[in-house]
C-alpha cells in the first residue's frame, strides 16, 4: 500500500566555497531551521531524521550521530544515514520517500550537507576508487568526466561552444537564485571558452565548483501534508539505476543508467513524452558537456541531439522544458547536498515559490542525481498526488 508522499517544507543555506564562519552543526542547522519554519513545525513534530554526507570529505565517522542530534532534531528519534557519493542527496530523498510511503512515519526531515574544505576533497575523491586498479593513475572525478566529454563530443560532433552555452545558461539562471554559489548574470560564451583548459576538452568554466552548505526538506503523508501547506510537491516516482563496479567498464559517451532510471520513472508517473509532459527539470550536470549528454539520456531528445536541443532554446528559462532554473550543479555543488538541492528546487517550482527563477505553471518536475560508478537516480514530482 503506497502512502502519498509530499515535500512540504524546504530549507537551504546560501552556498559558498567556504563557510569558515560556522562549524559543521551550525551550518546544517541553518537549513534545518529554515525548513522547520517553512513548514511551521516544531522539532517535536518530526518523526525521523534521514541525513547524509560523504564521511571522508570531513573525516568524521558516523557523522549522522553528531549532526542528526546537534544540527537536526534527532534526539530520542530515529536517525539514519544514507551515503552514495554524488547521488547522496537523491539517495536521501528517495530514502525519505520510502519512510513516508511505507506508512512507517508521517513526517520526516531529510538533510544533505557537505563542508568539504574541512577535510580536503582530494582525499575524499581518491579513496572512492579501487586502490589497486584505479587509484594509481587517477586524477579525481574530473579525469573520467573529461574522457566522457571527449568521447561524447567525438561521437556526436558536439562543439565546445555548445558546451559553453550550457554554462552561460546555468550561471545566468543562478543569478536569479539567491542560494546559488556562482551567480554570473553577465557571463558570455567567450568568457567560458577563454578559461583555462584543465582537462581537455573541459575548461575551468565547463566544470562545477565545490561548495559548502546544506539542504533540508520536510516530507509528509497525505493527511499531514494538507495541514501544512496548500501546495505540497508530491512524489510520483523515484527510481535508481546502478552500473558496473568500474565506471570505465563500458563506453562512456552516454549515460545508460539515466536512460534506464528515467524510463522506469516515466512509466510509474504516466509520462509519455517528457518534453511535453514535464514542465521543468533539475538535473545533476557535473560538467557543461554532461548536461547535453544527460538531456539525451533522459529522453528529452534523441541521442546526439543534446546540442540541438540547447541551440533551439528548449532548455532555456523561456523554453518548452527549462533545465536547471536554479543554476544547476555548474553553479552550486555541495557534494552530499547537491542532488537534494535538485529535489528542493523541483519542489520549489511545483510550489510556485521560485521568485525570479520560477517557471510558469509547473505541474510536473524532474529531479536527477548522478554519481558513483556512473549511476543515476530520477525523481518525478507533481502538484497533485498521483492517482
Amino acid at each position: 500500500m503506497t502512502n502519498k508522499t509530499a515535500v512540504v517544507g524546504i530549507g537551504q543555506t546560501k552556498f559558498r566555497s567556504k563557510r569558515r564562519d560556522v562549524n559543521i552543526p551550525e551550518m546544517i542547522y541553518e537549513a534545518v531551521k529554515m525548513a522547520l519554519d517553512d513548514a511551521q513545525l516544531e522539532p517535536k513534530d518530526i518523526d525521523a531524521i534521514i541525513i547524509g554526507n560523504m564521511d571522508h570529505f570531513e573525516g568524521i565517522n558516523f557523522s549522522e550521530l553528531w549532526t542528526g542530534i546537534d544540527a537536526a532534531p534527532g534526539y530520542l528519534k530515529p536517525v539514519v544515514k544514507v551515503a552514495t557519493g554524488g547521488t547522496t542527496g537523491s539517495s536521501l530523498a528517495i530514502c525519505g520517500y520510502h519512510n513516508i510511503a511505507s506508512g512507517i512515519y508521517d513526517k520526516v526531515l531529510v538533510v544533505g550537507w557537505e563542508k568539504l574544505n574541512e577535510g580536503g576533497a582530494t582525499t575524499g575523491i581518491i579513496t572512492a576508487f579501487d586502490p589497486v586498479w584505479e587509484r594509481p593513475s587517477l586524477a579525481g572525478a574530473l579525469g573520467p568526466l573529461a574522457l566522457m566529454a571527449g568521447m561524447y563530443s567525438a561521437k556526436y560532433g558536439i562543439t565546445s561552444e555548445q558546451a559553453a552555452k550550457v554554462t552561460v545558461k546555468n550561471r545566468s539562471n543562478a543569478a536569479n537564485n539567491p542560494y546559488a554559489h556562482l551567480q554570473m548574470p553577465d557571463i558570455t560564451i567567450d568568457y567560458v571558452m577563454s578559461s583555462q583548459v584543465i582537462s581537455y576538452p573541459l575548461r575551468l568554466h565547463d566544470c562545477c565548483p565545490q561548495s559548502e552548505g546544506a539542504c533540508a526538506l520536510i516530507y509528509a503523508n497525505e493527511k499531514e501534508a494538507k495541514k501544512i501547506t496548500d501546495t505540497p510537491a508530491w512524489f510520483h516516482a523515484v527510481e535508481t539505476a546502478h552500473y558496473y563496479t568500474f565506471g570505465t567498464d563500458d563506453k562512456m559517451y552516454d549515460l545508460p543508467t539515466a536512460t534506464i532510471a528515467s524510463k522506469k520513472a516515466y512509466k510509474r508517473a504516466g509520462i509519455k513524452n517528457p518534453i511535453k509532459d514535464l514542465d521543468v527539470a533539475e538535473i545533476y550536470e557535473p560538467t557543461s558537456w554532461s548536461e547535453l549528454s544527460w538531456t539525451e539520456a533522459l529522453g528529452f531528445c534523441k541521442p546526439g541531439e543534446g546540442g540541438k536541443l540547447l541551440d533551439e532554446g528548449i532548455t532555456q528559462m523561456s523554453g518548452e522544458l527549462p533545465v536547471n532554473p536554479s543554476g544547476g550543479v555548474l553553479s552550486t555543488n555541495p557534494i552530499g547536498a547537491t542532488a537534494l538541492v535538485r529535489v528542493a528546487e523541483a519542489a520549489i517550482q511545483i510550489m510556485d515559490r521560485g521568485g525570479k527563477r520560477q517557471v510558469p505553471d509547473v505541474e510536473k518536475a524532474l529531479a536527477m542525481g548522478f554519481g558513483g560508478s556512473l549511476w543515476t537516480e530520477v525523481m518525478i514530482l507533481g502538484n497533485e498526488p498521483l492517482r
Binding site: 579501487d130 586498479w133 576538452p201
Partner: protein, 164 residues
Amino acid sequence: MSKTRKGQEDIFEIKWKTDLPYRYSIGKLAVKFFEELKENKKILGSKCPKCEKVHFPPRAVCADCFIKMTLDDMVELPPRGTLEGFTVVNYPFTDPSTGGIRPFPYGYALFKLDGADTYTMHFVNETDVTKMKIGQRVEAVFNDELIGDLTADIPYFRIIKEEE
C-alpha cells in the same frame, strides 16, 4: 587552534592530521596478475566462463551472469589496444602513490586492450590533444625492472604513430 580575521568575523579553526592506514585484500586474481606482470611481463584479464566477456582489470565476479571467475578463467591479453577516449590533465592532483602532487600536464586515455570487452584507463605519453585521435593504437611501455606494481611496471601506454 588558530584564530584569523576575515572581514568583520573572527574565524576559529583546528588542524587535525591523523594517518589512517589500510591494508586492502586484493584477491587471488590480482595476486596472479601481479605475479605474471612481475615474472613474465604478461597482462592478464579474466574471462567469464558463461558469457565469455573478457574483463580487464581482472576480477572475480561477472556482473552480467552473476557467476564467479577463478584463476582458471584468467587469460593473457596483448599489451596493445585501441584508444577510445583521451584527455590531458592540466590541474594539480595528489598522487596516491607518493602523497605529493603529480607533475602535470599528463595524458590520460581510455582504451580497450585487444581481446578485452571492457575499457581501461591509464596514462599515455602525449600531452598534445591535437596529436591524439580516437581509434589510434596504444601499446604498454614496461619498466626495465618489474616489481609487480601497476604504474611502476607500466608507467604509461605509448601512442603508436601511423607510420610505424
